[in-house]
């Protein structure tokens, strides 16, 4: 018995996609971004992990250190202090930012006279340079600034940036101020997808605003909340610029974050290997938190 052959091998799934001319062109369009991603994101990340196992000098000298940097990290009180500061900042800044983003999004999601203006105003901090804003916040939180005057009746006057207790709340205020507009815009977009008739039906059934939000809007927003929680948590773990401009990690290391430790070790003390180890620890921590968030929020979608 003979078997007839066509002379062509059957195409696999990838082959079938590539056989389409549009797909090939699409891949060409994707290629630059993909290569840039490899070169500037993936490559440095791998190099960073590798660097954490070496001592590297700006003169090019390199020496194998194995896990020495990680052992030093575990024993370094400054690392744990920076970790504590970063976690406290994240635990407060992320939920506050998400709640504020939601409240603001609910306030301006429908078109009304001035809604665009308010959306722009609320989004403005996102595109404002934190270096510039930070300088102004330094004055706002100073002993003679308006924040001190506002808080004096509560017994919380004086310089917040000069207080080892109040400096983190001050950093959280600025961090939330600079981020909530981004979450607000994402949530406004997500809220546009909530069927209006559902809300109207609930209104006719006598549901109040809270009930409509909880039973109709919130379930629709769960995927968006998951996305924002991951993005905001990642950003919060990497808090640096606000601290750099406003407190330089002080007073007495009270606002010293993990990325600040990384910056100091790498760029002030030239200890690149140790700085890379801090980066790896930060990455691991962010990854774990993102996975937990996926389990908690993502599962309920």
């Amino acid at each position: 018995m003979t078997t007839a052959t066509t002379g062509k091998r059957p195409l696999g799934a990838v082959g079938r996609v590539l056989a389409r001319r549009e797909a090939r062109v699409a891949l060409l369009f994707v290629l630059p971004a993909f290569l840039l991603f490899l070169a500037f994101r993936f490559g440095p990340s791998i190099a960073g992990v590798a660097l954490s196992l070496f001592d590297y000098d700006i003169t090019g000298e390199i020496a194998w250190r194995g896990l020495d940097h990680f052992q030093r990290l575990v024993a370094d009180p400054l690392f744990w202090r920076a970790m504590g500061t970063t976690v406290v900042y994240t635990v407060f800044a992320v939920p506050i930012s998400l709640v504020l983003s939601t409240v603001m999004a609910l306030g301006v999601r429908r078109a009304f006279r001035g809604s665009r203006f308010f959306r722009s105003i609320f989004f403005l901090p996102v595109i404002t340079s934190l270096v510039l804003a930070g300088s102004i916040f330094v004055w706002i939180f100073s002993a003679n600034g308006p924040w001190s005057a506002l808080m004096s009746p509560l017994g919380l006057g004086g310089s917040w940036l000069g207080s080892t207790v109040l400096v983190i709340p001050a950093i959280i205020v600025v961090g939330v101020w600079s981020r909530f507009g981004y979450g607000m815009m994402i949530l406004i977009a997500a809220m546009q997808d909530v069927p209006r008739e559902l809300e109207e039906a609930a209104l006719m059934d006598g549901a109040n605003a809270w009930q409509r939000f909880r039973s109709i809007i919130l379930p629709h927003l769960r995927p968006t909340f998951f996305f924002l929680a991951v993005i905001e948590t990642t950003a919060a773990f990497q808090v640096f610029d606000v601290i750099y401009v406003m407190t330089q990690g002080g007073p007495a290391n009270a606002s010293y974050s993990l990325v600040y430790l990384l910056y100091d070790q790498g760029f002030k003390y030239f200890d690149y290997g140790y700085a890379a180890a801090v980066g790896v620890a930060l990455f691991a921590m962010t990854l774990v938190v993102a996975l937990v968030q996926r389990l908690v929020i993502g599962k309920q979608r």
Binding site: V25, Q248, P251, A252, N253
Partner: protein, 413 residues
């Protein structure tokens, strides 16, 4: 979906262009002559004066050295180490760069020692304390441009308002006079304790005055000593007695917003007379010897030009460094910046200036302290602990002990 041929070709070109962009490197044109690049900073605050000095100096040097051309770039002080180390790591560093002693220690491996690059005559002319400040492990690391001194400077107007006629000479004087100033609403001393302030101008002079050192003889932690505790206790006692400006202990604000500028502080050992004179009035600036604990000693920085190992023309770079730091050439630069000569044969620059002339007298007695590669990292762990002690969160002994523990892995390297 139809995709035109043109779109496909465009995408391909875009990808190729981006790839080319990624791989493009900065080429160097071969000129045949020796070329020197210099990185400077705003040592002279007035940009036009600063530029004019370097333009004139380079023009005069190039006239004498036809085979050498010099380029310079003035970088801001802020983040200067990031820019420099990135450039060195990328092999794009300058031939010559302005560095202070802490940096000389930090960049030691990247610097070409000038033992054989700077003339013996010039090396002999350097002030002994200045030469020590730029010498590491027996190697002369740079050609000194300038030096400074930070003696005690007091505000005569504050003394008058507080009804104090006597100026402090010793720690005991400070402790005795402090309550009088505090009772009148003045702080006795300025002590900026936030992380941005170098300990060279704050804690280290007090430590030296107590007879202590930052490092011990073996290069280990030296501040965790009886003298260290004595120095920090002196400061924490002053803080408790409200003799230190509380704002300066925690925050770093522009000079004009500080208590020292606003005439609320009696004395300082971390501000230059040129800084305070515009606020206090020249007539109120009183220059005094450095305070005495066990001994009287003050910090004085040294600015220098270092040749980097990556230089393709180290001899030419050193020739320019020697020329630019020569007594006559550098004089207008020093007087414009309010600094002092690093050379022993130079006549006093400020003989006619009652303030700088007085400060100039202390120049030969200043120090930059011990030079070590870890000096900046050590400050990073010590500074917050000192601040914690000053804020009453830790005892001086505990603060120094914790700082010493945090410093151990840094010194091990």
């Amino acid at each position: 979906m139809r995709v035109s041929k043109f779109t496909g070709v465009a995408a391909g070109i875009a990808a190729a262009a981006l790839l080319a962009g990624c791989s493009a490197g900065g080429g160097q044109a071969s000129s045949g002559e020796k070329h020197v690049t210099l990185w400077m900073y705003p040592v002279v605050a007035d940009e036009a004066t600063n530029k004019s000095f370097w333009d004139d100096t380079i023009a005069a040097f190039e006239k004498e050295h036809k085979d050498i051309t010099v380029d310079y770039e003035i970088f801001p002080w802020a983040n200067r180490d990031e820019a420099l180390q990135t450039a060195i790591a990328a092999g794009k560093g300058p031939d010559l760069v302005y560095l202070v002693p802490d940096q000389l220690a930090a960049y030691k491996k990247s610097i070409a020692p000038m033992n054989d690059l700077l003339s013996a005559e010039r090396q002999k002319d350097l002030l002994p304390n200045v030469k020590d400040s730029v010498t590491i492990d027996g190697d002369l690391m740079a050609a000194p441009v300038l030096t400074s001194a930070q003696p005690l400077v007091c505000n005569a107007a504050v003394f008058q308002q507080a009804g104090v006629a006597e100026y402090p000479k010793t720690w005991d004087d400070v402790k005795r006079l402090a309550p009088t100033f505090a009772a009148k609403g003045f702080s006795m001393l300025n002590y900026p304790a936030s992380a941005e302030n170098t300990l060279n101008m704050t804690f280290y002079p007090v430590l030296w005055q107590a007879g202590g050192e930052v490092y011990d003889k073996d290069g280990g932690v030296g501040f965790d000593s009886e003298a260290g505790e004595k120095a920090l206790t002196f400061l924490t006692d002053l803080a408790t007695a409200k003799a230190l400006d509380p704002e300066a202990l925690t925050t770093n604000v522009p000079l004009e917003q500080t208590a020292i500028a606003q005439g609320k502080v009696a004395c300082t050992f971390n501000n230059a007379v040129t800084e305070v004179a515009p606020f206090w009035g020249k007539e109120n600036v009183k220059v005094l010897p450095p305070l005495k604990g066990e001994k009287s000693v003050a910090y004085g920085t040294v600015g220098s030009l270092a040749v980097l190992k990556g230089s393709k023309a180290p001899e030419a770079a050193a020739a320019f460094a020697e020329y630019a730091t020569g007594a006559d050439v550098v004089k207008p630069f020093l007087t414009a910046a309010g600094y002092f000569s690093a050379l022993s044969t130079t006549e006093p620059l400020y003989a006619d200036d009652p303030l700088l002339g007085e400060v100039e007298k202390y120049v030969p007695d200043t120090t930059v302290g011990q030079l070590a590669t870890s000096s900046r990292a050590l400050m990073g762990v010590l500074s917050p602990e000192i601040q914690a002690a000053l804020l009453g969160q830790k005892s001086p002994a505990d603060a120094l002990k914790d700082a010493a523990a945090a410093a151990a892995p840094i010194l091990k390297k």
